[in-house]
Symmetry: C2
Amino acid sequence: MRIALDAMGGDHAPNPIVAGAVQALEKDPELEVFLVGEESLLKKLVPADHPVTSRLHFHNATQVVGMEESPAIGLRRKPDNSITRSWQLLASGKVQGIVSAGNTGAMVAGGLFTRRFLPHVDRPAIATIMPTMRGPSIMLDVGANVHPKAEHLFQYGVMGEIFARHMLKKDKPTIGLMNVGAEQGKGNDLVRLTQQLFSQCDLQGSFIGNIEGRDIHRGVADVIVTDGFVGNVVLKVCEGLFEFMMKMVGKEVIGVLDQEKDKAMAALHKLVHTYDYSEYGGAPLLGIDGICIICHGSSGERAIKNALSLAARLARAGINKLIVEELERMPQLNSAATNQG
Amino acid sequence: MRIALDAMGGDHAPNPIVAGAVQALEKDPELEVFLVGEESLLKKLVPADHPVTSRLHFHNATQVVGMEESPAIGLRRKPDNSITRSWQLLASGKVQGIVSAGNTGAMVAGGLFTRRFLPHVDRPAIATIMPTMRGPSIMLDVGANVHPKAEHLFQYGVMGEIFARHMLKKDKPTIGLMNVGAEQGKGNDLVRLTQQLFSQCDLQGSFIGNIEGRDIHRGVADVIVTDGFVGNVVLKVCEGLFEFMMKMVGKEVIGVLDQEKDKAMAALHKLVHTYDYSEYGGAPLLGIDGICIICHGSSGERAIKNALSLAARLARAGINKLIVEELERMPQLNSAATNQG
């Protein structure tokens, strides 16, 4: 299992990125990691006699797309950047997957440039795990495409269902369409068209129709389908509200305690840790012919280790083959897409 | 101050609705309430000798649009419904404001049918208060219009700024545009056009550009401008995550305590109460020539009392006059709207 890791991407790169790679290699003896970045710099971060060095390779890239840089401009002006070089490793078949905590837009744009999408997938989607009252759900797209068409959203649903079944181990995952109300006919043109598409195709009862925002954390659907604009806003709103609530609980609940203050604070930290989005090890970009994991910019070594582990598990589970097979089962999709124009 | 109250709207109507009206009347001696609904039924809910009866009027409406009913169909098939009758009271000038905890879509549709919008306002918006680390902010639109144009979003910003200044008592409120990234040029066509419009108009430095989902609860902007689809999803996601987090804190933090468990639980209940969205007394539909407050379907008497009080305060503050004056200051807006086609 060979995975390329953008060693230069992330708020704190390269040190915690390289440390995360070493941890992942120690944990998974079948794993090989290609560290992509300034080779001379990266080599200094791993002792030459470290037991994992035989499975740790270096792939030179002298440039970095900044975290806040415009993806299109960054990729064009810096042809030797670590993100482009990682995608090239995937495109050439030298690695089965790539992982980066760098500029998310540049990672997605790099993937779009390769055009290495799975058959029957028109646009990839970023999928993220959401903690819910009934265990983890998956939400997609959270930002790869802010102008999707209905058939893209349909494909997100199929990809998410496969992910939920094989990676979240849900027996019969349900798919819900993010909307402003549960009733049929609600919402904007995009979700109404998408609902038609889902209703026309044989998803063996997995499509449960519209869901509302409050249904996410209630765990009403295992797969939450939405466009990249809404999904991105929702994901970040959750991060912000989570942070806000934890501060309020610390101040206004734990703050009033006396003897058991420390005990409560330790339990709160544990809770924050459990629901910390970075713990899931990053968000897969589904629909790519290969594995691609996009990590939070603030990823530390633990998040990077988890992301490499997730990439390896996705590759081993053969997710992509299953997605293609499932989409092939749906001849209606092509005609529906054609009708939409 | 005369306010019409849809006595039949809400999950638990009419009892807590009528009780809320009585509380509001007891609190505000200048207030008169018109209870709209089945008169014979409503009259039984208030003792004839109650001190407030001289300021409590009944306006008959024999039909009710159900909470889950299609707004368009409900309003058409039930001409004598309490929502239509409330809007008619406003349109005829018999009341200065209306309040309902009934079917939100029907309330908005009822407002659209009257066509009583403020001058220079093309579409009304539902505005909701969001608690943040820096005090309350206002977000709009949260569901009146799922297909807005850029000039509508611009008008939301102006209306929200007036609301924040005069109702939230912010000295120089800031306006942020909900987007997927802070950089200019980010997002979909709608937000890019909207950003241009905000940049062209003289808002005296209040427009701070794009904000991201996580900025809401950090209180980065006093006014959060977004389209009705995104705003509605965000509002409900916050409700769901809030509910989820409070349950988790109750179980995993307070649940581990011994002696101080009751004390912590009391503080948690207080926190839930403070940030309970219903405490703010409902969401104003801004842009209407008159005052309109839309309450949560689950509103109890306290929420109704608060909504009536909010309606009276909005009317007294002369919010609408200020909105019209502010929009009149912006000649660029008309040409920009025309250019967009």
